[in-house]
Symmetry: C2
Subunit: 191 residues, 2 copies
DNA sequence: GACAACCTAGGACGACCATCCTAATATTCG
DNA sequence: CGAATATTAGGATGGTCGTCCTAGGTTGTC
């Protein structure tokens, strides 16, 4: 923990603030306060605010990949692995209620800003998409694997958006149960 | 059209810009350019930027209510009315692809900004929610009407978010078809 | 111990923001 | 017509933003 460089601290703080307040609404002063360093000091580590965003997205990509790899090892059956994905809604229900989905809200914001980092942010979605697609393929649903992956992603997004708007955790639980039921029926259809 | 007051023009331009660029990212200069009036002139019509947002939300609420009322008249069966709701994804697929859902993206942004107009924006969701709930009640699903309404709202939101991120209209069509199938199975279950 | 490389602090900068002010112009109405 | 009112334009204000600059401090290396 203590061997983290100042750069890492900046990225970590920016990550949190971008998630909670949004990218545009987060200023260098906000990050500086969080990291407890001087404002003008940033430009020794990053050339611009956009470069911090790039770094944040790259960290998120790496963490997401690690998480997917872990699920791949932990879950013996593809069905179990997909349930790991569905379960992040439960595991993060408190923060989702407060701030929405970190991926979805970032992509939504960058789309409005017409920001150049849109493709990088969207690749976070793609990471989940291709991973889920592979699981559905392993499940014997190759011909519709991508549709099923997108369907699941969309439902997660919708749940996160509404849970955030209505500040409702119980809704998450209810929808997750339905998603699990849906997955069961997906599996059953192939046996 | 020409009997629209300057105030109405401001609201209309702000509505579009808030949708396309986001609330925070839209400045008075942007709106002034769109309406072709002077910047300092705003404060004769509105006390603040937040007051413009309020006006925009109120217009959206009124328009939404009119739309719901129209669907209520046009659709004889509750099932047809719910299909009208599902169909807005198709009707607006081009703009959704570009800018996402006007309701969802606004609520998401205001949540990040911790803005005081959050409840007003969320009431746009509530308008759809209570209307859908009533339709499902009329469909004989009173005990789970609210769950079904929220489920449908969530799926629409998810579709809009992903269609926006991936710039994919075909995905909208595909998901809408599934939502229609889902609705059919909902109806069949009660007959 | 000296020198170079890295790191930091904090102020200066120009741009833009929401907001306010004032003076000029339209419009309304006695 | 003329006075009161409504509307407009455009500049001023103070604040914040991202960015840059410079001078002082720390660290590592020979």
């Amino acid at each position: 923990m203590s061997d983290m460089t100042t750069r890492d601290h900046i990225i970590e703080a920016a990550d949190q603030l971008f998630y909670r307040q949004g990218f545009e609404h987060t200023s260098f002063s906000n990050i500086a306060d969080a990291v407890q360093i001087s404002r003008g000091n940033f430009y020794h580590h990053f050339k611009s605010k956009d470069e911090i965003l790039d770094a944040v997205i790259n960290v998120r990509l790496a963490n997401t990949q690690m998480m997917l790899d872990k699920w791949e090892v932990e879950g013996k059956m593809p069905e179990d692995r997909i349930r790991s994905f569905i379960n992040i809604l439960i595991a993060n229900k408190a923060t989702i209620k407060q701030y929405g989905c970190p991926v979805g809200t970032l992509c939504t914001e960058l789309a409005k800003l017409n920001h150049s980092a849109q493709p990088e942010a969207n690749s976070l979605f793609t990471l989940f998409r291709t991973w889920l697609r592979r699981q559905f393929t392993l499940l014997g649903r190759e011909s519709v694997a991508d549709e099923l992956a997108m369907h699941l992603l969309a439902r997660s997004q919708g749940v996160a958006t509404l849970a955030n708007a209505f500040h409702d955790e119980k809704f998450i639980k209810h929808e997750v149960q339905q998603m699990n039921d849906w997955l069961s029926s997906c599996v059953k259809g192939t046996e």
